[in-house]
Symmetry: C2
Subunit: 429 residues, 2 copies
C-alpha cells in the first residue's frame, strides 16, 4: 500500500476535511499494524524526550546578524525551510524568495541548506541570508539556542515568494533599523517567551496563525524598554511579528528532545514547498520525507484554491511543540483565517491528544478548563490510529513573486511517519 | 410574595449557583405572570431603544478634571456608585472611599450624589471628587458623552474602600502626571473603543473583570502616541486599566437608549454597596431598588466569603451593555478569577440570550461562531422567565479601609425588575 501515491490522506477523524471546502483525497487508509507490540524501551525513551519539551523555558536573549550568529553561516549560503532541497526542485514561492535573497545580498549564486541544519527555522520559504538580522532564543532548561529571522508582515513579502523592490527595501530597513533597535532593547535582559506563550493561549492565540495577543504583550515589553517609534510602529502594524519568536522557542525545545536513542517522538515537521520532512528523536538528523500536500483554506481577494502552492515552511515546528493546529481549541477566532468553526477548532485539539504523549502545563487551554495542549507526537500513535497531525498554515501563490494568497489547514502526509516507524522497527536491538 | 425578603434568588437556570460555593438562597420563585399579554407598543419602543445601543460607536475623546468636565460637578460634591445613598446608609467600603476622597480634597464634609446623575460611572465605590482626572467618552452615533475616573489598579485602592496614605499618594500622582499625560495623548485624536471592545472579545476578555487584551491594545495605541515612560509603566502594571473606559462606553450607549416612552429596556444596573438599583428606558431617571446581594466567588489570601461586602459599583453597566457576565462565553479564563468552569461561562451567556432583545454584532463571541453578545435586557423577559441578570464583579471587604478581597458572581435581585414591570403596567395608556 505504501507504494501507492497518496496526495492527502484524511482517514481517521475527518473533521477538518468536513469543515472546509476540501479537495483533499479521502482514502480508506488503515495502519499497517492495528496494534503495535508493547515496547517499554521506546516508552522510556519517549518519556525522556518529551520531558525535555515540557521542561523547556524559552527566553528571547538577543538579536544579531545571521553571519555572526548562526552556526555554520557563510556569505554565499542561503538557508531555506523544510528538508534539503535542490535549486531545480524549488517551487515557485521558494524560487521567488531565493532569488530575492540573492539580489538582497548581491550574489549571482549561492548554496542551499535547510535552516534546520543550522539550529534555525524560518516561516514559509524560510530564506535566511548572511546579512539578515536574526533572533536568538535560548531554552533555559537545556541551554540550547535556536534562531529565526524577523517577521516582515503579511501580503507581498519575501517568505511568500514576493521579491520586488518594495520587498527588498523593507528587508534593508529591517537590517539597518529594526534589528539594531531590537538588539538594544534586548540588552536590558531576556524576554520570557514561555510566559508570553502561556498568556497568549488564554487570549485567543494558537501561536501559528494568530499572534495578536502575543505580539501585543511583546510590544508592551519592548515599548517599556524604549524601542524607537519607527520600530514600534512596524511591530504594531504586524500581528504576525511574534511568529518567528515562537518558532525559535519551539525549535529550541524540540532540539532539546532530539537524540534520545530509541525514541519515536517527532522533533521536526517542516516543508520546503516541494517535500514534507519529519525527524524523530531516536534518528536525530535523519529526514523522512514525502511530497508536500496543498493546504485547503480561505483565500484573499480573487485568489482561489487553484493558486495555492503545496505546503511550505518551518512553522510546523509550532505544531511539533503542541501549538498551532494542536492548540486551536484556544483560538476559535482563527477559523476566520483558516476556515472551520469553533466546534472543529475544539475537535482538532481533542483529536491531537490521540497522537501525543503529554499535556503541556505551560500551554493551558482555558476552554478545555486549562488542560495542557497536546504535546509530543509519537509516530507509533499515528501508525496505530491513522490520525495525521493537523497543521494550520499560510498559503503562498504557486508562482514566484506573487506572495500570500490565503491561509488554511493541512494534514501532514502519513508516509514520513510510517517510514520513521519502519526505520525504528528495523533498528530494534 | 413580593413583600417577602429575598436575599438572592437563583430560580430559573441555577448554573452559576451550582458552579461555585454558593451561599445564595434558592427559592422556588415563579413569576407573577407566566405569560405576559402581547404588547406591540412596548415591542416597538424596545426596538427603538435597543437599536440605539446596537448603533453606539464609543470613542475615547479626551481627559480632563472632574470639576471642569462633569456636568453639575461642584467642589464640595462627591459622586458615588449606584442609586442615591445617604451617608448613614453607606457600607464599609463606600465609607472608606468617601472618607479617603474627603482627605484627598481637603474637605470636612461633602454632599453625595450618584455618578449616574452626572453622566458618569465609577467602579466599586465609584467615588469621583472634583480634583480627579476623568475620561471623556462619546457615542459617535448619538453624540452622548459619558465620564469615568481613571483606574487605580487592584488591591488596596480607593474604589475598594482603602484610603491610607499610599492610596491617596497614588491618586495625587494620577491627577498630576497620568491624567495630563493621557490628555496630551488624546489630543492626537480619539481612540475607537468600539473597535477595541470587538477585538478584546476575540482575545478572551469579557470586559468586566478581564481586560488584559483591551488594556494591551490601548497600551499599544498610547505608546505610539508617545505616552511618558512613567504612565506606560503604570498602565502596563494594571490589567484593569481599560475597565473605566469600557464602563464609560457602556454608559454612553445605555444613556442613548434612555427616555423612549413605553420601553421596558434596562438602561442601568448599579449598586452602591447597600442597594441595587435599576432604571428602564421608559421611566428615564426613576430608580427601582432592592437590598444589594453578597457576591459569591474566589477570595484572595486568607479572606473568605464572610469578609465580603454586598455588591457594589456602577460596573454592572457592562452587563447592561451585553458584556461582563453576559459575554463570559468569550472569556473562559475569567473562571480563574470569578469561579466556575468553561462550561458554566458558556452557559451563562447562552442563558442571558433568554432575557435580552438582540445580539450585538459589534460584540461577537468566537466560541459561539461569532454570535453577537446578548444585549438589551427586557424586564418583561425577566418576569416571564424568572432568569435574573448575571453579573461578575470584584468583591470589597465589608470594613472600611481594607480593600479588595476577591471576585465572583452575583445574580441581580429580582425585585427591582418586578417593580419596574409593575410601574410600566400601571402607567399603561
Amino acid at each position: 500500500m505504501l507504494g501507492q501515491p497518496i496526495r492527502a490522506v484524511t482517514a481517521g477523524a475527518s473533521l477538518i476535511a468536513d469543515a472546509v471546502e476540501a479537495e483533499q483525497v479521502r482514502v480508506d487508509w488503515r495502519p499497517p499494524l492495528e496494534t503495535l507490540r508493547p515496547d517499554p524501551e521506546t516508552d522510556r525513551a519517549n518519556q525522556e524526550a518529551v520531558s525535555r519539551i515540557l521542561e523547556a523555558k524559552p527566553l528571547w536573549v538577543g538579536v544579531g546578524t545571521a553571519l555572526d550568529i548562526i552556526p555554520g553561516m557563510r556569505p554565499e549560503l542561503l538557508l531555506h525551510s523544510g528538508p534539503p532541497l535542490r535549486w531545480e526542485d524549488a517551487s515557485g514561492p521558494m524560487r521567488g524568495a531565493l532569488e530575492g535573497a540573492l539580489r538582497l545580498e548581491g550574489l549571482a549564486a549561492a548554496e542551499l541548506e535547510p535552516c534546520h541544519h543550522h539550529q534555525a527555522v524560518g516561516p514559509m520559504a524560510g530564506v535566511i541570508s548572511a546579512g539578515m538580522p536574526v533572533v536568538i532564543v535560548e531554552d533555559q532548561a537545556s541551554g540550547r539556542r535556536a534562531y529565526s529571522n524577523l517577521n516582515e508582515g503579511l501580503g507581498k513579502v519575501l517568505r511568500y515568494g514576493a521579491n520586488d523592490d518594495a520587498v527588498l527595501e523593507r528587508l534593508r530597513w529591517m537590517a539597518q533599523v529594526l534589528g539594531p533597535d531590537l538588539r538594544r532593547a534586548l540588552e536590558a535582559g531576556p524576554i520570557d517567551l514561555g510566559a508570553i506563550n502561556q498568556k497568549a493561549l488564554q487570549m485567543g492565540d494558537e501561536l501559528h496563525n494568530r499572534h495578536r495577543a502575543a505580539t501585543s504583550m511583546l510590544f508592551r515589553e519592548l515599548a517599556l524598554r524604549g524601542l524607537s517609534a519607527a520600530s514600534m510602529k512596524f511591530i504594531d502594524a504586524n500581528e504576525y511579528f511574534y511568529l518567528n519568536l515562537v518558532m525559535a522557542a519551539a525549535k529550541a525545545a524540540c532540539d532539546a528532545a532530539s537524540g534520545v536513542p530509541r525514541s519515536t517522538l517527532v522533533t521536526t515537521m517542516a516543508r520546503n514547498g516541494t517535500e514534507f520532512g519529519v525527524r524523530i528523536s531516536g534518528a536525530s538528523e535523519r529526514w523522512f520525507t514525502a511530497p508536500a500536500v496543498v493546504p485547503v483554506g480561505l483565500f484573499l481577494g480573487s485568489y482561489t484554491q487553484a493558486d495555492a502552492n503545496p505546503d511550505i515552511g518551518d512553522s510546523a515546528i509550532t505544531e511539533t511543540y503542541g501549538l498551532g493546529g494542536f492548540a486551536m481549541a484556544a483560538a476559535p477566532a482563527i477559523t476566520r483565517v483558516v476556515g472551520g468553526s469553533a466546534g472543529t477548532a475544539r475537535d482538532a485539539t481533542l483529536e491531537m491528544y490521540e497522537i501525543t504523549l503529554e499535556e503541556n502545563p505551560n500551554h493551558q487551554i482555558p476552554s478545555l478548563d486549562f488542560r495542557g495542549s497536546p504535546t509530543g507526537i509519537d509516530v507509533r500513535r499515528i501508525v496505530e490510529t491513522g490520525i495525521q497531525p493537523l497543521i494550520n498554515t499560510g498559503i503562498a501563490h504557486k508562482q514566484a513573486g506573487v506572495g500570500q494568497v490565503g491561509a488554511g489547514l493541512v494534514r501532514a502526509p502519513v508516509e514520513p511517519f510510517l517510514e520513521a516507524y519502519r526505520w525504528h522497527s528495523s533498528t530494534s536491538a
